[in-house]
Amino acid sequence: MQTKQPRRPGELVFNLAMVLGSLFLLWSAYGISGFEALSAPGAIPLVTTAVMVVCGALILRDTLRKSATTAEKLERDILPLPVIVTILAILAYALALKPLGFLPTSFLFLTGLIGYLRGGSLLRAAIQSLLIVALIYLVFRIVFTVLMPPGIVPEAEIIAWVKSLFAGGGT
């Protein structure tokens, strides 16, 4: 029944990491309450991590049985440059979100990433980003009242100004 697909680059390392991680979690689960009782707080964690160890070992065994010869390459098929750049961009976005604020960070994130992934004019990417950020801000901040970090933007003043516009229109 087994398909003899070749082993993908990094698959062995990942599956080995899964087994080692599961063993560590099993040890941690044992540390919760040991084999104290079947209703102990560690009972379900112990069973689930034991299941992970057994399944992880079976998966590793199957991986070892696969042929190591493959046309795939790690840098092309598993971790190509756009994936690495995107992960780093999300990380940079998360780091800058609080100090800079939602509006400028989102604009920079979208402009940079759209510009990188699509290529071509950065101005076009900036205009698209501006429209998208404005729409998201309207839906999340104004309609759903989700609090986003204001950062360097005087958000309270902007919202007060928008509200005063509506208040003015109502009188």
Partner: protein, 487 residues
């Protein structure tokens, strides 16, 4: 029912469709945010808006499942299995059209069941023992593990990982720390929404970077409203899965997600010769989960209104809303305030009709999303994912969790691990843990007594043998036995 209430149901349903469809926004989140600004309203308009969002949101989750392979909600996980292959073939309009109609049918069956059989079904649900809930949870994880991946072992691994993740934090019964490693940040547990957005939003976004330069499939949306023969052909299956959805939805702690998966499994078993194989764009693979998850919406109200026990997370929030308005959901609510029961039933029925109208008329604009260049769409999805994760508790920690799970989920996908069981495991972790402990304590910590009790009870025995059957039927042993018999 006044015009303002009708408008609120319509507005809620319309908003719900988009809330459910946008990755990173959840119905649970939207309804919980709504509580904060409907606090000063009367109970009826507040409920009308929430019911609209709930009904529209469960349906809306299917849209991104079909168009982007990112289920907008856990209830749409099974929909993606056949919906996305249909969109890849340029049949997104047809897929959304049939999903809209069958969601309406499922919703209608659920509402009728709520109105007619509420007391009977509630009576059935109350007979469930803790061991039955435990077995139901195991059944759900095993089903999704066997359905959504290349190997059952990887599915079970993913499900166990999810249950483990769900148990991180303080044990609610004994306040013992579990998998916290002495850090304060882990004592409150791992945010389910962060795990879900990471696994389904970020990892899918990263996966799609591999095919960034592939041509965008123009979605042919010539026919949105499905033909009557097509609907009639799938009506028997739809009625069966609607019933499954109502019953599963009525079980506290379970919801549209499990209902949809069980219904999908039911469809794979009863459909002998689908025109297109399951997983490749079978219409039956859309009919089953979508009728079931919309039927489960009304099902979830049954234990809420008759027992005061929420059917799922959204009805749990609605119970909170009723408490805020000085009402006490439970058996006496139906006796003391029958109008409240009938108001909810009629609001659900109206929301179901609005869902059909908005669902069938808004597809063309919505389908345009997939025709956007992926280089623009993907950064927007990633941005929405970050915003959604942040909005859970206004905390950047959840954003880091989301990113971590996104990258981890990306590698899991690359190496053939299904992600559905991880999410289901996280959702069901508490249900499994609590009910296992209740069951084993009531059987005096004896495994033998637990097994005996399971086999003596018809309900438990059926669930137990279902678990065994599904497990065995997906192992090589099953194939060996049947090959031998065939030979």
């Amino acid at each position: 029912m006044t015009f303002s209430l009708l408008s609120l149901i319509a507005l809620g349903t319309f908003a719900g469709i988009y809330v459910g469809a946008i990755p990173g926004l959840s119905v649970t989140m939207a309804v919980s945010i709504l509580i904060s600004f409907t606090f000063s309203w009367d109970v009826y308009p507040a409920l009308a808006l929430m019911i609209g969002i709930y009904m529209g949101g469960v349906y809306g989750g299917s849209r991104t499942a079909i168009l982007l392979n990112i289920p907008g909600a856990p209830a749409a996980i099974a929909t993606a299995l056949d919906g996305y292959p249909m969109a890849q073939k340029g049949l997104a309009g047809e897929a959304i059209g049939i999903v809209t109609v069958v969601s309406f049918i499922g919703g209608f069956v659920g509402i009728l069941s709520l109105a007619i059989f509420a007391p009977l079904l509630a009576d059935f649900a109350i007979r469930f023992q803790p061991r039955d809930y435990f077995l139901l949870g195991v059944l759900g994880i095993l089903l999704v593990g066997s359905l959504s991946g290349e190997s059952l072992v990887k599915g079970i691994f993913a499900g166990a990982l999810g249950v483990g993740l769900g148990s991180v934090g303080m044990d609610p019964l004994t306040f013992t720390e579990r998998f916290t490693f002495g850090t304060d940040g882990l004592r409150a547990g791992v945010s389910f929404v962060a795990v879900m957005i990471g696994m389904f939003g970020i990892s899918e976004g990263l996966m799609q970077l591999h095919t960034l330069n592939s041509p965008v499939i123009k979605q042919k949306i010539g026919r949105i409203v499905p033909s009557w023969p097509l609907v009639r052909k799938h009506l028997p299956l739809g009625m069966q899965t609607s019933s499954i959805g109502t019953v599963i939805g009525a079980l506290p702690g379970t919801g549209g997600d499990i209902a949809a998966l069980i219904a999908y499994d039911h469809a794979t078993r009863v459909t002998k010769n689908p025109e297109v194989p399951f997983g490749k764009g079978a219409v039956e693979g859309l009919v089953a989960p979508e009728t079931a998850n919309n039927a489960a919406v009304s099902g979830a109200f049954i234990p809420m209104l008759t027992l005061g026990i929420p059917g799922d997370a959204v009805t749990a929030i609605m119970i909170g809303a009723l408490f805020i308005h000085g009402l006490n959901p439970g058996p006496m609510l139906m006796v003391d305030q029958p109008d409240m029961f009938w108001f909810i039933v009629s609001s659900l029925a109206l929301a179901n009709c609005f869902m059909l109208i908005f669902g069938l008329t808004g597809i063309r604009a919505f389908v345009k999303i997939v025709e956007m260049p992926r280089a623009v769409l993907l950064p927007v999805i990633l941005l929405l994912s970050v915003v959604g994760a942040y909005a859970v508790s206004n905390s950047l920690t959840d954003v880091y969790w989301m990113l971590g799970f996104g990258v981890f989920g990306y590698f899991m996908k690359l190496y053939g691990y299904p992600l559905g069981p991880v999410i289901l495991g996280v959702i069901l972790s508490r249900l499994l843990d609590d009910n296992w402990r209740r069951a084993i304590i009531s059987d005096q910590e004896s495994l033998w007594m637990l097994l005996k009790g399971t086999l003596m009870s018809p309900l438990s025995a059926v669930l137990f043998f279902s678990v065994v059957l599904i497990f065995v039927s997906k192992t090589p042993l099953w194939g060996m036995i049947f090959r031998k018999r065939a030979a």
